[in-house]
Symmetry: C2
Subunit: 174 residues, 2 copies
């Protein structure tokens, strides 16, 4: 049973939810932050590392390529690398590459409808409801913009980062 009627469908859509692609691409991007200069990681290596569905991860990585965050090198020795240094890519950059930058609250200007409709003259200022909702979205964006991939990578213990480097170097040699 998926959708029984239009109300149920709306209820399903209404829950504010981020795609799993956000988690996947953030982790993959942090992993790419630690690659030696000039190195790439094939998509399969990224998918295997986190046990992710390869074809579906591909779609999300392509979103990051389109947003100018990743470079994709084709061919048997090809793979992905960050398009700029990890201290210049924020968490917000990655999240919005996957999710888009539309605010979750969409004002329908209901104050201009119905028996209580205000005139256009009375609605020159932005609706206060819209203003507070947009302000909250900007607070959310500001928080995500304040952390870079480098910040996250720096929080990972050196032993794990060294283990990953050794693992990928082995995989490249294989």
């Amino acid at each position: 049973m998926w959708i029984t009627n239009i109300y149920d469908m709306h209820s399903t859509l209404s829950v504010m939810k981020l795609s799993q692609g956000v988690e996947w691409t953030l982790h993959c991007s942090v992993l790419l932050s630690d690659l030696p200069k000039g190195a790439v990681l094939p998509r399969k290596a990224l998918a295997d590392h986190y046990g992710l569905p390869d074809a579906y991860l591909a779609k999300h990585l392509q979103s990051l390529v389109r947003a100018g965050l990743l470079l994709a090198t084709p061919g048997p020795r090809g793979g992905f690398a960050l398009a700029r240094s990890p201290e210049k890519i924020t968490v917000l950059d990655v999240v919005e590459a996957v999710e888009g930058s539309a605010a979750p609250f969409v004002c329908q200007e209901i104050r201009q409808h119905g028996s209580g409709a205000l005139t256009a003259d009375q609605c020159v200022r932005m609706c206060a409801v819209n203003r507070v909702m947009l302000g909250a979205h900007e607070s959310w964006r500001r928080h995500l913009r304040a952390t870079t991939l480098q910040d996250i990578a720096d929080g990972i213990p050196a032993s794990i980062r060294q283990r990953n480097a050794a693992k990928f170097s082995r995989e490249r040699a294989a």
Copy 2:
């Protein structure tokens, strides 16, 4: 055409989006903030005022009743009123009554999966990706918690508030 395959469905669900019920219930609650003590507004009056679908608005108003934000009085002279004073109801209260309080980012702990899986010992601290996403959600909530229904009502010009009061008083007398 609704859903063609599982990937399309996921894409549809993945866009972070708030229900229209958020806008509807915020505007209705602000309207109720201005009611004289002891007065109520019938659901139909609220729906008519903003040109909203009555049956669907009912569902959202019930969510606010369940959350303890509105009181519903049954009967032909019944209707809705705020359950407490408007300076004690925040925008966040209303938003979460409609949407729930679940964070939009759900960490699947992918660092513990796949060929790069970390051990439970290595994952005692919360994942840095999860930490920044939860922090952003808290910034969003903090912003919505900082504004009350009274704050929004106070921003509406006196002429509009007086017009609404006169309109509802006429409707009650009719």
